[in-house]
């Protein structure tokens, strides 16, 4: 029985949230739907943890869906690279469950709450599916599941602008999805297979063809759109700003990260580092885009008046850091990119949760509206401060570990210019984080506002926020396990020890 469960875990981690979604709809009551969400997401998290351990021991876990042997059937493959992203996605989803109850209740009408939880489960199932699948077309299907549900989630935001931002995201997201599909179609045309491992075997024969080159280009562009890498980022600030707070936290911490995961899964596992970075000049292209993202995203962040939008622009910048690491295509670089992918998910999740708690109280998210909350919401404000320090990269936080890993990888690869830009972007982050902190602590609380009836955020929101903050600090002071796991993942992607 237990062995059977363990054997089925790779598929259960997708199926549990997928089937829990219709259950939410059937349950119809907000509380019941929330309970189902929590059970399913925590179960997924537990399974993700077990899969991580299994992948560590075995190197790779493979599962044939429906017992159809690969490459004919769909194969699920979990190695350390996917297991780490899986842990991030399910972990943030589980914590968002704790957080979402009060936050969603304050922003969405009660008769529609169950829909939010159903959609979040669908989105989770899609994201988890992307990370565990070993099949190119299957990845596209899961990407669409997660995308469609996130369009609907963003549209449920409390302001009417949410509809427009959701539509904007839908257009860009669909373009991205279509590009990905075209790319997969092109390489399928040349090889006749969709299984990633099989593709990796067969592609070298046809490397020189324009079709395969075009396929890679389509896939990279499509997934860059989903990952919001500049100049394909324009959907992101609006989407994060107008989505319900809990959804902003969940999507910011997971969706773009999974897109980056998929991008480099294709680039390294399917096409191979030698082809993409040796034969084709993908490295320099991605590095240039990453550098532009870092600087432009940080600069834009400084001039925002809305905190959620400020954090969203900072995410654009941080995607640049992540891609810069991966684009080095060295073991140290890929490992640094992956570390920052995970750490930034934790940082941004925590920050959006802290801001969401403030929005819960003041019902607005402009920096001016947060004036004086340092005294009124001491715990939430403290959480924001710690998260902000982690974003800047102060030692003893996860952000510092990312910066350290990225800088040493960039210096080692002799990309001194990008290293300098990364430093400049970090310095810019001091300014935008500082602006929020000054508003929280140095401005008086307005007298005439009705929000005085509320005190600190509810317990669930506090616990979720501080759990992410605590993980940030634990990683900051003892990052060795994370870095070693990332090094293992990098070794499977680009070879070589680290």
């Amino acid at each position: 029985m237990i062995t059977a469960f363990f054997n089925q875990m790779p598929v259960l981690v997708v199926v549990v949230p997928l089937l829990a979604a219709p259950l939410c709809v059937l349950a119809h009551r907000a509380f019941a739907a929330w309970l189902i969400y929590c059970l399913a997401s925590w179960a997924a998290f537990a399974m993700a943890f077990l899969l991580f351990v299994e992948a560590k021991i075995a190197g790779q876990v493979s599962y044939a869906v429906g017992n159809w042997a690969p490459p004919f059937g769909i194969e699920l493959v979990i190695d350390t690279y996917s297991a780490l992203v899986l842990l991030l996605v399910t972990g943030v989803a589980a914590l968002t469950g704790l957080y979402a109850r009060k936050s969603i209740a304050s922003e969405i009408a009660i008769e529609r709450e169950y829909l939010v939880f159903a959609l979040m489960l669908l989105c989770l199932a899609g994201l988890v599916g992307i990370t565990v699948t070993g099949d190119a077309f299957n990845l596209f299907v899961f990407l669409e599941i997660s995308s469609l549900s996130s369009y609907a989630l963003i549209a449920m935001g409390p302001k009417r602008r949410a509809l427009l931002s959701s539509f904007q995201y839908l257009i860009m997201g669909t373009v991205g999805g279509t590009f990905l599909l075209i790319g997969i179609g092109l390489i399928f045309m040349m090889t006749g297979t969709l299984n990633m491992a099989d593709l990796a075997d067969r592609l070298p024969e046809v490397y020189a063809t324009r079709t395969v080159q075009a396929g890679l280009a389509f896939i990279v562009v499509g997934l860059s759109l989903k990952a919001a890498l500049m100049p394909a980022h324009i959907w992101l600030p609006n989407a994060y700003t107008y989505a319900p707070s809990a959804i902003s936290a969940f999507i910011a911490a997971t969706a773009t990260k999974v897109a980056v995961y998929a991008l480099f899964r294709f680039v390294f596992t399917v096409f191979g580092a030698g082809y993409a970075f040796g034969t084709l000049p993908l490295g320099i292209v991605l590095l240039a885009l990453a550098a532009v993202s870092m600087i432009a995203g940080s600069l834009a962040s400084i001039f925002q008046t809305d905190v959620k939008r400020l954090l969203a622009w900072s995410s654009v910048a941080q995607m640049g850091y992540i891609v810069a690491g991966f684009a080095l295509a060295t073991p140290a670089g890929v490992s640094a990119g992956l570390v920052h992918l995970l750490n930034h998910g934790l940082i941004k999740g925590a920050l959006f949760m802290a801001v969401g708690a403030m929005v819960w109280r003041v019902r607005a998210s402009s920096i001016n509206d947060l004036a004086g909350l340092g005294r009124a919401m001491p715990l939430t404000s403290a959480a924001f401060v710690v998260g902000g320090l982690s974003l800047i990269g102060v030692p003893a936080t996860a952000g510092f570990i990312s910066k350290w890993a990225l800088m040493s990888a960039l210096f080692d690869a002799q990309h001194y210019g990008v290293m300098a830009l990364l430093l400049v972007a970090s310095l810019l982050s001091i300014i935008y984080v500082g602006r929020v902190i000054e508003a929280l602590y140095f401005r008086p609380l307005p007298d005439d506002v009705s929000h005085h009836k509320h005190g600190e955020a509810p317990l669930g929101m506090q616990v979720a926020t501080w759990a992410l903050i605590a993980i940030n600090i634990v990683i900051g002071v003892h990052a060795t396990p994370e870095l070693e796991a990332a090094a293992r993942a990098a070794a499977t992607l680009v070879g070589g020890g680290a």
Binding site: P395, G434, H478
Partner: protein, 488 residues
């Protein structure tokens, strides 16, 4: 003695912040806890003097932050000197702060004492750090926990001061110091403080070493080498006890201490001497110490004048390090001690004057000498020590600095130092001269008008230390010199 003590010493002030917070409602109890914590810390640190002098180098590794890089503590002479200074002056400052904060009815006194304890923890952490990463962790911790102290009043002025303060310190540390550490890690594969340095045999050339040394010198913004000095005058918006302990001792000494450690244990005196990598920084430090002295002459705000004086004095230590000679580094270590006692006395005096008569401009001090004889006598003693005249402790650090300069054939430094002493006389002795010899205005108190005893006693103690240390400088020199025991 068990190396575990190193961790206990670092954690002790931070842990005691909790009891200080708990008894915050009873100020007398709170200050008693603070002072006792400080005395216990001093005793704990002092117990290491004999073993370290005998050549012991205890080490304690807490856990690994990154693969191959631990949060680790180790003790050597420079670190012990810095830790002793911080631990000795903390209880005195707490006593002084109790008088000052109450005398001026400052708000949020409990937060003040908590942040103070955390800042001392950071100082001890830096003093005891065994590698650059540990040093950097506590360096940043010190920046962050002193920010609420600098912006203590919470008004627009302190917000602006705080912006400059954290802006410059964080920009330099993250923009220059951190990459310097990362580069050292990539090149040498090791950022432990190693006698003789870590770069031997790595093929680091003279010019590259010069660039890297520059990243360190300017990255350690706390050392306030121009143009990274602006945070120090900005920090003067803080209550005076903060300026006294943190911005005359703990924070700025943390900066020059880092420079000394990096010079001696990362680059190595011999490596710097052979490559000449630190040569340009002798002149940059010389420029800073002259320019800061000139600026100080024109500062009417007393605390600001003292801040610029600190910038100049810090550059003595940077200069001593950059000379790349044993004597120079020893002089730097000694100057950490003598300047600490001298400058904290001056700040104590400034705070006492403010508490007693609410004056903060030099031009308002005329004739105050008769009302506050103890304060201004202490001021005079400390000023003479900083100028570097016997029989005050400061004379020795200047003496060794000059010997260090002669040692490496840079005679021009002697001229700079002499000139700087003259400038020091102009801006420092100006103050007691006004107080004692110029007539006061109508509002100047006629009778005896000293600040509360809690303010005056500490400044008399530190002023006497300036004299006493003149006669006991030799053991300190001998002690610092053991740092080079295995290095050369």
């Amino acid at each position: 003695m068990s190396p575990l003590w190193l961790l206990i010493l670092v954690a002790w002030p931070a842990l005691m912040a909790a009891p200080i917070a708990l008894v915050g409602r009873w100020p007398n109890l709170r200050e008693t806890v603070s002072v006792l914590t400080g005395v216990a810390l001093l005793v704990g640190v002092a117990r290491f003097i004999a073993p370290i002098a005998a050549g012991a180098r205890p080490e304690f590794s807490v856990f690994s932050i990154l693969p191959g890089l631990d949060l680790a503590f180790a003790l050597e002479p420079f670190g012990l000197i810095f830790a002793l200074i911080a631990a000795a002056l903390w209880p005195l400052t707490t006593l002084y702060a109790a008088g000052y904060m109450r005398g001026n009815d400052e708000p949020n006194q409990t937060r003040f004492f908590i942040c103070f304890a955390l800042a001392i923890s950071a100082a001890i952490g830096m003093a005891l750090s065994a590698n650059l990463l540990t040093l950097f962790v506590f360096y940043e911790m010190m920046t962050l926990v002193t920010y609420p102290l600098v912006t203590h009043h919470g008004d627009i002025e302190s917000r602006n001061g705080g912006r400059v303060y954290i802006g410059i310190l964080m920009t330099t540390s993250i923009g220059l110091f951190l990459p310097a550490i990362v580069i050292t890690w990539v090149i040498a594969g090791n950022v432990d403080f190693t006698p003789g340095g870590v770069f031997a045999g790595t093929g680091l050339g003279g010019l590259a070493a010069m660039g890297l040394y520059g990243l360190f010198i300017y990255g350690v913004g706390k050392a306030a080498v121009m143009p990274m000095h602006r945070w120090l005058p900005a920090a003067m918006v803080a209550p005076t006890p903060v300026s006294a302990l943190l911005h005359a001792v703990a924070v700025v000494k943390a900066g020059v201490f880092s420079v000394l450690k990096i010079t001696v244990y990362i680059f190595g005196i011999d490596f710097l001497h052979v490559t000449g990598a630190s040569q340009p920084f002798v002149w940059l430090a010389a420029f800073t110490l002259l320019a800061a002295s000139v600026v100080a002459i024109y500062c009417d705000n007393l605390k600001k004048r003292l801040a610029y004086s600190t910038i100049g004095q810090l550059s003595y230590i940077v200069l001593g390090a950059a000379l790349a000679s044993r004597l120079g580094a020893t002089a730097g270590g000694l100057h950490i001690v003598t300047h600490a006692f001298g400058k904290i006395t001056l700040f104590f005096c400034a705070g006492a004057i403010y508490t007693a008569v609410h004056r903060k401009y030099v031009s308002q001090l005329n004739g105050l000498g008769r009302a506050m004889p103890l304060t201004f006598t202490a001021f005079t003693i400390a000023a003479i020590s900083l100028i570097g005249l016997p029989p005050m402790a400061g004379a020795w650090s200047k003496w060794y600095l000059m010997s260090g300069a002669l040692d490496v054939q840079t005679q021009m430094v002697l001229v700079v130092l002499a000139l700087s002493s003259l400038l020091n006389i102009v801006y420092l002795l100006d103050i007691p001269a006004r107080a004692f010899f110029l007539p006061g205005d109508d509002k100047t108190p006629r009778g005896f008008a000293e600040a509360p005893a809690a303010c005056v006693v500490p400044l008399m103690i530190t002023a006497s230390a300036c004299v006493v240390l003149f006669f006991y400088a030799r053991p300190i020199i001998a002690f610092i010199d053991t740092a080079f025991g295995s290095a050369s």
